[in-house]
Amino acid sequence: MRSASAARAAPAPRRSFVSDLAQHWRWVGLIWLEVSVAYAAYSLYLAARARRAGRREEDR
């Protein structure tokens, strides 16, 4: 049977920044990817709409 002192003597392994972040990289990466893709997509939409709006009537 393990003694109480042995249980206390076994501290939780200290996690490094990289291993800690790697555990959650999917979620952290996903949200930043979502935001980046959304900004890029809306920029492309605005560029396409500006091109369309800028054409003169006789070109359409």
Binding site: W27, V28, E34, S43, R55, D59
Partner: protein
């Protein structure tokens, strides 16, 4: 016919703003992903907060500015105010959608659910639905003046929901965390607060970049519409229209 006439070039200040915004966005992402310390409760997942909260704050600003231009249109009846209101409403609906999606992504690993119908989340969904309604209403009305007036009223209804949305986490039992940054005080570590404010500032710059470009597009579309109306109402218009 070939497209020989390109869209008018964007002003130099706008291109500079877009470039600065892009660089600052990358700096903000670096601060959030590397510089910010982990949170005592959420650990590394706190890095998601900077993306979600900054987008949500800017969404609120966009809704308020939409309502302000809507009110100006009701007072002055100037078409440019309506064009600015629409530009802000479009960017507001974009940020509202992004707030909902990023909120669900943030919620799953931290609160173990994508969605729950509590006060805060329901009010945000309602705000998004009202913004969709804003564009539905605009699509249903042909007369520009009436269209501007009705949509201005809708925008003010959306803005009226904001205080309830902002304070819902404090007023009701909700899964959404209470406000860490409020007028009553700030309960965030200094480094985290700096990263949050920096990312909120970047989101505000992105909003300004989008809105200014969307307003320019609105002006181009208005000019084209007026040109078409002039041709259709002028002498020999039928020949011109047929061309």
């Amino acid at each position: 016919m070939t497209d020989t006439h390109q869209a008018p070039r964007r002003p130099l200040w706008w291109r500079a703003l877009a470039l600065v915004t892009l660089v600052l966005f990358l700096v903000g992402a670096y601060l959030a992903l590397v510089v910010s310390p982990p949170d005592v409760n959420q650990g590394q997942l706190i890095r998601m907060m900077y993306a979600h909260v900054s987008v949500a704050w800017v969404c609120f600003v966009a809704v308020l500015v939409t309502a302000a231009y809507g009110m100006l249109f009701l007072l002055r009846g100037n078409g440019i105010d309506d064009a600015r209101a629409v530009a802000n409403a479009e960017v507001a609906i974009f940020f509202a959608g992004l707030t909902l999606v990023s909120g669900m992504t943030y919620s799953k690993p931290t609160l173990n659910t994508y969605w729950t119908w509590d006060a805060k989340l329901t009010l945000t969904a309602l705000m998004f639905a009202l913004l969709v309604g804003y564009f539905v209403v605009r699509g249903l009305i042909d007369d520009p003046t009436r269209r501007g007036r009705v949509s201005a009223v809708v925008s003010m209804i959306v803005a009226a929901s904001l205080p309830f949305n902002y304070l819902a986490a404090a007023w009701f039992r909700t899964l959404h965390p209470t406000l860490s940054v409020a007028v009553t005080g700030v309960h965030v570590a200094p480094t985290m607060l700096f990263v949050l404010v920096f990312n909120a500032g970047v989101a505000a710059l992105i909003y300004l970049t989008f809105v200014s470009e969307r307003v320019r597009i609105g002006k181009l579309e208005m000019a084209r519409h007026e040109e078409r109306e002039r041709r259709e109402s002028g002498p020999g218009s039928k020949e011109v229209v047929r061309v």
